[in-house]
Symmetry: C2
Subunit: 133 residues, 2 copies
């Protein structure tokens, strides 16, 4: 019985560790990386930022295909070679290019574009398939 | 004894599962994402591509600070809104902006630039700090 308890304890610790990491970490699928940079029309408008963040977060939380789901902003101190002019970045990864295609066509994605496209001025998208060693 | 074996089996399965995922997956640290797009001077030269990939892979494998270490290329079929003109992409994540600064100054990073800068025509870098929910 003591051994069972120890095994359960070990499993609990392992599980908790995974959950703790999840707040700052995320899995990254090397098969397909999709990065998007958004330049908002009014980057200093707190109302526009709030609306954009809420809409993008809702989309990612409802996507059946996106992994990683990273939303970022440029850090204040940037080096000369860095383009820090964008307002928001998005990094999502996928298990395959088919999954990325499905994400493009998902209802939550279409809703996000409908809700938020009036907020941005420019968008740049880069897609990459990973070179697996 | 049977219980110990079962516990060990469970732990082994958990560990193996983690290792299997590692080949296509990677952890992604939301604290700091660093993405770089490289346009090689001779993207059709297999010798240049090989030299670039070898040099970049060596750098990432020797970096004490980079997480994620993703190297990608644009997929063949791209949508209209996607910039698929780059030759290679790099996505690395860091636990903090200090760790990213240390990576900039690392000897393997300087060696990579020295070895490979003659191969590229243009580089765009974007840095992002994550919005943690």
């Amino acid at each position: 019985m003591k051994i069972v308890s120890s095994a359960l304890l070990i499993l609990t610790v392992l599980t908790s560790h995974g959950q703790t990491q999840e707040s700052a970490m995320n899995t990254f699928d090397k098969n397909f990386a999709h990065t998007v940079y958004f330049w908002l029309k009014n980057p200093d408008s707190q109302a526009d930022r709030k609306a954009f963040e809420t809409s993008l977060r809702k989309f990612l939380n409802n996507s059946a295909f996106a992994k990683t789901k990273f939303i970022g902003t440029p850090p204040r101190a940037s080096r000369d070679v860095v383009d820090g002019s964008f307002t928001y970045s998005l990094i999502a990864t996928f298990e395959s290019s088919e999954a990325q295609k499905n994400y493009q066509d998902e209802a939550p994605h279409k809703l996000f574009i409908k809700e938020s496209e009036h907020l941005w001025d420019k968008v740049i998208v880069y897609d990459s398939t990973g070179i697996i060693e």
